[in-house]
Symmetry: C2
Subunit: 342 residues, 2 copies
DNA sequence: TTGTATGCGTTATCAT
DNA sequence: ATGATAACGCATACAA
């Protein structure tokens, strides 16, 4: 049973004629051991094909060299990009990523966070500020460093890296108001358990209110993150007579916006002549569409990098800032223009 | 130092007036312990906020309840979807996913696999059949169950779930040949460290050869997985006079194909009247484009599910098949048609 | 610089 | 059904 298994520290120690402590040192602080010995040990490590036993290391040192990320879904390109960035940053420091998905369910998020904590992650990255109270309680009780992403507010109680969804969305709406639009509609993402989607809606409503306009109930449609859904919503919104239907369609994300643009094409409507359509996220595709999609650029990659960096800093004990506001920008492209003359 | 920390089995045992063994049992095989006792223990578990210590569990049981996935990148929607499916399947069995990214570098892949093994994963999911020999050697030496995805071949030496890229690509090319095309070009994905991209090229070449055609050197362009790259390649291919330029553009993936279609639009070319464009992957976007993108449907989700299921079966010791060929299908849509009359 | 010895929190074996 | 206890493989405080 033992001989069949993989070598452990003891085996290496014996083979090299040293103590386990020495082997441990050449593995973890090589400079502490005399070159001659070190080489002898390293040779045995190679020869016997030794691989570290993470569980034992974690148990003895209470460090797993592992970070958890809990995101709504990977089906969303922005989260996929963010996670990719997190992984790339972590691997540079020889940390490994544990990934869990919530499907926008805050109860499930709690379970996932608990599962990752049980796996011993040294830190955790979450999305948004909307969480089950137990989630935060658990994290704090376990003294597990964590940071929230994709949202930023100066008054946040937790470390966070992101941007102000409300404000960015408001600016997008203002851009459309400045172009002269007065009849607005919004195709928003699903708001349940999603503070980003909610804030984007609120931003639009706020901008309209300040100009004495509002978003009628039937001009706000919540749709799942799919091109098909964007198309359906757009068709619904365009069903009324040209004299009263919206001239500006604000979408909660680019996938819905792409759906809207494509449906416009299918309906024979000209964008932006007949109707302006804008999105949010700035997917790689956005700039290449014809017309180009006016949207809000979201720094997914930098958010991932920054979040990972912050957690690594926490773990290393080199703590600095704990709130990072990243810049967003309204990318003005061909899909938005002045409303058609009445 | 101890009091500040979280409770462990011993603490629960003491509080409930039982032994650690009993607590362990109510956690792992509740039916083995009398209901009265069980409840007393469970109450303390709740009250003290006990959370299991994964490292200690893994050390004692040599099971981490963890599976690793090593993929080229998450920036590719198909891999993101696949990983999402893997996670969804794993979580149902209370397994956690360790995710590592290779950036299409087989040396880096080896390091990532080693890192995951050191973290004690109970199984591993890889992409493609192209691997550093050490990668496979390590996996086998550690008796770590693994499966390769995204490719299938009956003669594969390893467990695999996927489809025959060569064949699917060949069928796509044959469809275009059947439509009457004779002047072909291909915008392929980068082939370095990517057997899928290579097989897709070979499939096209093979189909052409069988009809006495070939793919001239300057009609095969390798491009990175980006819309921009697809656009550039398409422009290059269309640079010759209409009389000799290709009438059928075969793309190694949908992202490149979307780039090609959009560039055609920008150039004022009609797809498919002036030129046919086809892709590979069947991204959600493909069917919604105007014209719809003719492409090969790839079952990313089912691949992820199947791979995860296979690994879970290995771990549970309930072994069945180890090779899974999944169906692909040529999705014929508006972007492909007969070549223009000469 | 190197070795010795202890403990990390579980699981699992063996008694009872 | 329950308890006592020996591993599990390593890091680390301490001794030399």
């Amino acid at each position: 049973m033992k001989s069949a298994n993989n070598p452990n520290l003891q085996d290496i120690a014996t083979a090299a004629g040293v103590s386990t402590a020495t082997v441990s040192r050449v593995l973890n602080s090589p400079s502490d051991v005399r070159p001659a010995l070190r080489e002898r040990v390293e040779e045995q490590i190679r020869k016997l094909g030794y691989v570290r036993h993470g569980a034992a290391r974690a148990l003895a040192s209470s460090k797993s060299h592992t970070v958890g990320a809990v995101i709504p879904t990977l089906e969303s390109a922005i989260f996929a990009t963010g996670v990719n960035a997190i992984e790339n940053r972590l691997v540079r420091d020889h940390f490994t990523l544990l990934l869990a998905v919530t499907n926008y369910d805050l109860d499930h998020e709690f379970k996932q966070v608990q599962a990752l904590i049980e796996r011993g992650v040294d830190g955790m990255i979450l999305v948004g500020q909307d969480h089950h109270p137990d989630t935060i309680r658990l994290l704090e009780r376990q003294r597990c460093p964590f940071i929230t992403t994709w949202t930023y507010s100066a008054s946040s109680k937790y470390p966070c890296v992101g941007f102000d969804n409300f404000n960015a969305s408001r600016m997008m709406a203002e851009h459309m108001l400045d172009l002269g639009h007065t009849r607005f509609a919004m195709i928003a993402g699903i708001t349940a358990g999603n503070d980003r989607a909610r804030e984007r809606i609120d931003g639009v409503k706020n901008a309209l209110q300040l100009r004495g306009l509002d978003l009628a109930q039937d001009r706000l449609i919540e749709k799942a993150y799919e091109v098909r859904e964007g198309r359906d919503a757009f068709r619904t919104l365009m069903a009324s007579t040209p004299a009263v239907r919206p001239t500006a369609i604000l979408c909660g994300n680019d996938v819905l916006a792409v759906g809207a643009i494509l449906e416009a094409q299918h309906l024979g409507l000209n964008v932006p002549k007949d109707v302006s359509i804008v999105g949010f996220d700035d997917l790689p595709l956005a700039e290449h569409l014809a017309p180009g999609l006016t949207t809000v650029h979201v720094p997914s990659r930098r958010m991932g990098e920054t979040a990972a960096q912050y957690i690594l800093d926490c773990i290393a004990g080199t703590l600095g800032e704990s709130k990072f506001e990243l810049p967003t920008k309204v990318m003005i492209r061909g899909s938005s223009a002045k409303p058609p003359a009445p």
